[in-house]
């Protein structure tokens, strides 16, 4: 399975500021995704990070709030912009490959608290 490194692992941020979360994979992968897990809830898909083009966002998520970059097949960033306490969540990066193995693997997540 792919080894996924996510940074930072946690952060406490002031409202109105922005935080960029990094996701690094130890091998090239076809697909990268970002998920959010609000306190006590399940995971919700934010967007698909597309290599070399704009991310594809799920309903309820917009680029201005969650800009995403994916400059190559091993790295992606998610920015949480103009944060409010409602953005306090765990943000998780996930990777998958199309082919024989289609399991999706997750990073350890970034626990964000907005005060």
């Amino acid at each position: 399975s792919a080894v996924i490194s996510q940074k930072p692992s946690r952060d406490i941020c002031q409202r109105g500021t922005s935080l960029t979360i990094q996701c690094q994979v130890d091998s090239q992968v076809t697909m990268m995704f970002w998920y959010r897990q609000q306190p006590g809830q399940s995971l919700t898909l934010i967007a698909t990070a597309n290599q070399g083009s704009e991310a594809t966002y799920e309903s309820g998520f917009v680029i201005d709030k969650f800009p995403i970059s994916r400059p190559n097949l091993t790295f992606s960033t998610l920015t949480v912009s103009n944060m409010s306490p409602e953005d306090s969540s765990i943000y998780l990066c996930s990777v998958a490959d199309r082919g024989v193995r289609t399991e999706a693997f997750f990073g350890q997540g970034t626990r964000l608290t907005v005060v």
Binding site: S1, L43, S94, E103, A104
Partner: protein, 112 residues
Amino acid sequence: SQQGEEDPQALSIQEGENATMNCSYKTSINNLQWYRQNSGRGLVHLILIRSNEREKHSGRLRVTLDTSKKSSSLLITASRAADTASYFCATDAVGALGRLYFGRGTQLTVWP
């Protein structure tokens, strides 16, 4: 929504007992995956079952899939205190291009 529903929401058992968790979903799928999450940390992949499979085993885990009922179950046999965690099912729907939709999860507590 393509998200599934899991039951029970919480399950509490003694060590050595078996734990069964169920997951239902709404759309046609390529596969269904089960994950474990300890105390709000990252997700650990447990097992993937494809839409043309009916049962799969991995160690103490047994997963079944009934596509006619759009449901799956995860059985953990001879549970241990270390199995205490949240368990989620996630569906890879046809046409979803790898995007996963998660059930709400089952919180399993195994008492020593």
